[in-house]
């Protein structure tokens, strides 16, 4: 019974992690940016969804839509106002661009987090789920929302897969991650590809944020942890490798769930951190990373 409980809970959490980390790794793979405001953007999506659907009284569907919209807006802002100016700045030497992007997005993340805390307080908020009720799966009480979370996560990841592998635009994204210069030589506008990638990222982070808000609840204080867990999953799977992050998300999700159920909920994240250190020492490129 406990095994089944772990199996179901772990699956739902892992799917959500996978969705959250996919956007993060996509941005890194295509434009080489580690976006440290990732967690804060997810929090914004969840809190806006909570506010619009609850206090504003627009219902869960409109709320979720508003949350994703807010996340999209944040992602655009991050790219236009922070990442792109730093990348284009002549005053910053090339080898230091990375640390400036990291520091810039980190500060932006803190600003978002503080703004949410100021406008909506830092109490945890649970977004009204899209579907209510529970179902018994072989004797385990499972909320419909948990099933929906897992299904929706996988549907979105599946759509992304189709987009990247089956459409012309998607293939140009893939090409940009392999050889940006070659792509420009073929007549593609690299900057419009980056805009597209940030748009996809905004939608993915937004959906992940809203689902997380409905599943576990979110407060502004979670932003740092969310960024750290996306970062860990992505490094574990191999930076820039989407399939690697999917596997890593399940490793992390199940490891955390098993620790929480079988050992002690308060050390939930410790085995993951230890695993991460071990992987980085032994195989720095991650599970499926290419160097």
């Amino acid at each position: 019974m406990l095994a089944l409980q772990i199996l179901i809970d772990g699956f739902a959490i892992s799917s959500l992690y996978a969705l959250g980390a996919t956007g993060f790794t996509l941005i890194f793979g295509v434009s080489g940016v580690l976006n440290l405001s990732h967690g804060a953007i997810m929090v914004v999506a969840a809190v806006i969804a909570w506010w619009v659907s609850g206090s504003f009284g627009a219902g869960p569907y409109l709320g979720a839509l508003a949350g994703v919209g807010a996340s999209l807006a944040c992602a655009f802002f991050t790219y236009r106002v922070i990442v792109r100016p730093i990348q284009n700045s002549p005053a910053i030497p090339r080898e230091e661009k990375e640390i400036f992007v990291l520091t810039g997005t980190l500060l932006w993340g803190i600003m978002l987090q503080e703004a949410v805390a100021y406008l909506f307080t830092d109490n945890p908020k649970t977004v009204r789920p899209l579907v209510e009720g529970v179902v018994m799966i072989l004797g385990v009480r499972t909320p419909w929302n948990e099933i929906l979370t897992a299904a929706l996560s996988w549907a979105v990841i599946g759509l992304l897969y189709l987009l990247v592998n089956r459409t012309r635009t998607g293939k140009s994204l893939l090409a940009a991650s392999m050889n940006p210069r070659g792509l420009t030589l073929l007549g593609f506008e690299l900057s419009s590809i980056y805009v597209l990638v940030w748009a996809i990222y905004g939608i993915l982070a937004g959906i992940a944020g809203v689902l997380l808000g409905a599943f576990l609840g979110v407060s502004s204080g979670n932003a740092g942890t969310l960024t750290a867990s996306a970062f860990s999953i992505v490094v574990l799977g191999g930076l820039g490798s989407v399939s690697g992050s999917l596997i890593a998300a399940y490793v992390v999700g199940y490891l955390e769930t098993m620790t929480a159920y079988l050992v002690n909920p308060s050390i939930r994240t410790v085995p993951v951190l230890l695993l991460l250190v071990a992987v980085v020492y032994v195989r720095p490129q991650g599970l499926l990373g290419r160097r």
Partner: protein, 305 residues
């Protein structure tokens, strides 16, 4: 010429800082005391980042190891303060050497993540063994540096001046130049016959030594060691912001940035929760428009670089 110019700026500034207790109250002195310890954190971080080229996301790992070693020895075994500080510094150096091992093998984001994980692990351990370490609440210390504000202020000022002089001297010395070369192009530096690994290892140990010592001093000033003041990620983030704000690769800029950061946080206190927002926004604007930071501007105006 650059040296004399720098000294012409630094000496009067130090003189003003030394005479400050004659003019201002204990409240401002307490604030500056905190800022001076942060200045040492930021200067140590700048040695690692600006010169060795290693992005350490977890300065609070080194600070925390030093601080908690000192705190535990003082709390349970009643070691005198100097012995605790020395033990804390040694423990921090060991931690720095442990951190340097992956740094010599990994680059960029991978190393950044290891340093981040180091902080999270330390924080988890401290909270997990809350019975011994005091956990989130913290560990009270039987001894404090001094009760008097002015005495505390002079301790911090003297500590910052000596640490700053050593770190700045080091960065301007031949060793500092080799370190800078290793940070910017490790392969070329090695090709010129410099032992990159040895120099980077040394940078880690020196940075850790001052971070740990400053962490120990800070908790003996505060009279309590807690996760929130010396280990939390937020502490590390502040250190990084201060160093980048003041101007990376200048050492002294890190001190200026710290004093600015603590001062600004206090001036904006009436804004309540929004103060962090405003400080972050200011830091972001500086990074976007003046990537050289405060000191970068100043030194560039002097015709260097």
């Amino acid at each position: 010429m650059f040296r004399s110019r720098t000294f012409l700026i630094v000496l009067p500034a130090l003189l003003v800082m030394a005479l400050l207790p004659l003019g201002v109250g204990g409240y401002i002195l307490g604030l500056l005391t905190l800022a001076y310890y942060y200045a040492v954190f930021a200067m140590s971080w700048d040695l690692l980042f600006g010169f060795a080229g290693e992005v350490n996301f977890g300065p609070s790992f080194l600070i925390g190891v030093g601080a908690y070693t000192a705190a535990l020895l003082n709390h349970y075994w009643m070691w005198p303060i100097p012995a605790c500080l020395a033990a804390g510094a040694v423990a921090a150096v060991i931690a720095g050497a442990v951190l340097a091992v992956p740094a010599l093998r990994l680059t960029g984001p991978y190393f950044g993540l290891v340093t981040l994980v180091a902080v999270l692990l330390l924080q988890n351990v401290l909270v997990l063994f809350a019975g011994i370490t005091g956990g989130e609440i913290g560990l009270d210390l039987p001894d404090v540096l001094a009760i008097d504000d002015t005495t505390n202020y002079y301790y911090a000022l003297a500590f910052m001046t000596v640490s700053g002089a050593i770190l700045f001297g080091l960065s301007q010395s031949p060793v500092g130049l080799i370190l800078q070369a290793s940070g910017q192009d490790a392969i070329e530096a090695a090709a010129l016959g410099f032992n990159v690994a040895k120099h980077k290892m040394a940078a880690f140990c020196i940075s850790a030594f001052f971070s740990g010592l400053a962490g120990g001093m800070l908790i003996f000033y505060l009279g309590t060691a807690s996760v929130g003041t010396v280990v939390d990620i937020a502490v590390g983030v502040n250190v990084i912001i201060a160093a980048v704000l003041g101007g990376r690769r200048t050492i002294l800029g890190a001190a200026v940035g710290s004093i600015f950061l603590i001062g600004a946080g206090e001036i904006l206190r009436p804004l309540g929760q929004l103060s962090t927002f405003v400080v972050s926004a200011v830091a972001l604007v500086v990074i976007l428009f003046f990537p050289g930071g405060f000191m970068g501007r100043l030194l560039q105006a002097g015709g260097r670089e």
